[in-house]
Symmetry: C2
Subunit: 283 residues, 2 copies
Amino acid sequence: MPKRVCVIGVGFMGGSFALALRERYADCKVFGFDINPEAISKALYLKVIDEGSVHLEDLLPFEPELIVLATPVGAFKSIGKALASFDLPKSLITDMGSVKGHLVYMMEEYLGERFVGGHPIAGTEKSGVENSVRDLFKGKKCILTPTGRTSHQAKEKVKELWTDLGCFVEEMDPYLHDYVFGAVSHMPHAVAFALIDAIIKLSKDGVDLFEYPGGGFKDFTRIAMSDPIMWKDIFIENRENIIKAIDIFSESLKRLRDLIIDAKTKELTEYLREAKKQRERVK
Amino acid sequence: MPKRVCVIGVGFMGGSFALALRERYADCKVFGFDINPEAISKALYLKVIDEGSVHLEDLLPFEPELIVLATPVGAFKSIGKALASFDLPKSLITDMGSVKGHLVYMMEEYLGERFVGGHPIAGTEKSGVENSVRDLFKGKKCILTPTGRTSHQAKEKVKELWTDLGCFVEEMDPYLHDYVFGAVSHMPHAVAFALIDAIIKLSKDGVDLFEYPGGGFKDFTRIAMSDPIMWKDIFIENRENIIKAIDIFSESLKRLRDLIIDAKTKELTEYLREAKKQRERVK
């Protein structure tokens, strides 16, 4: 049961984590760091955090037992380096990033066995600390990606934390994690952003297609409202898996396109039926 | 205010229409036709329709003022032909199909000026009369696609009907309709079905990716649970527009893929930011 937690990156994810922590552990204090002063002042005003600063070194006098990275993954390198330069012998360090793989090994280089990679499978298209919700993690999966180097004790503490916040914790190899979420989350986000880009281009004949958002369009494209900086980082850090998944998807779409253009009713129906059947397995 | 309405195709759309009609017009009677006897017996049991049959000619003694096609669009040709062979001098005829264009002109060939093409922009991934909901159309757009041949009186009556059911009625050229909905509805459905096909293929290394449906995956792929027969027909009947939209989408995705692979952070952020901005215009 941690009593002093530092959240690095006070946005939607970090803010929701802080709220969840303080709801679960009545006497837990949260220190928030963010490069954006507005995020810190909002978070203090909304009582999402107890203390906060735009200077990372200000976390030192707070003496956190646990430090949680909740920034876009592109910031992990500089944060890892900075934390490594600090004297923080008692702090466990974990993260909530959507990419693990090489980032986990990089963080271990800086921080050693006390770093435990984590990824709660929770989130919405929303961003900003003002949208934080305290029950974001309840009933969700949280993937931990320990390596051969990870301290057993550190891992168990992080596992207990997420279990306490209502997550089902599952362990996974860091690189397998990136393959899996490259396919089921990152590639679909790329598809959603590209879909909006296509609708912009298709709008060019004096017809504003965004005026006709029926037929599932809203649900389908909601994730294209996700934070551009967070997603730019995910796309770049997990690009090998994402490109592979985009290429498989493009083949699937090409096959469907061929069935449509050739009006192959039987194979087309079969293609749609199989997709429906598989999607229905997801509860 | 129609008192005797025949709904052809008693599925989710036809059933929801029948429920909405009977709620709005207390003394309106609905006759349902479907080729599937189970749909008729369910619809009678659930009191969605007053009378029903699996023989189209049984609608003759019912003497409907209004006939509404709510079948997959692939059935319109045979139904149009059959209705043309009946003696139905007083019946207005309209439809709820997702494709208009050439189908509207074909129906006019069979049925003349009393046919009014219509498309309520409402629906879910659900199918089957047992899932019908009476308020499906409230607050939604309904597109009517009259042509130079359409009877003014017929159009006004159909317009009044949809307005009474809570829709905002808008008129559009039949071919423009197919361009617009090919882009904002049909192409995105193709993309969702192809996305599931890709996830099936990416699952093949002993990892069942359908066990990790986080990060918007459920919302994004919900429409891939839509009825395969209905969508096979839409894809084939509107294939020219859909293929054009798929090709534009594929170019958009290729551009995004290139920005990711080359790690062009500035252009990538701009691409995502613009997509987010445009999507946010959709309320």
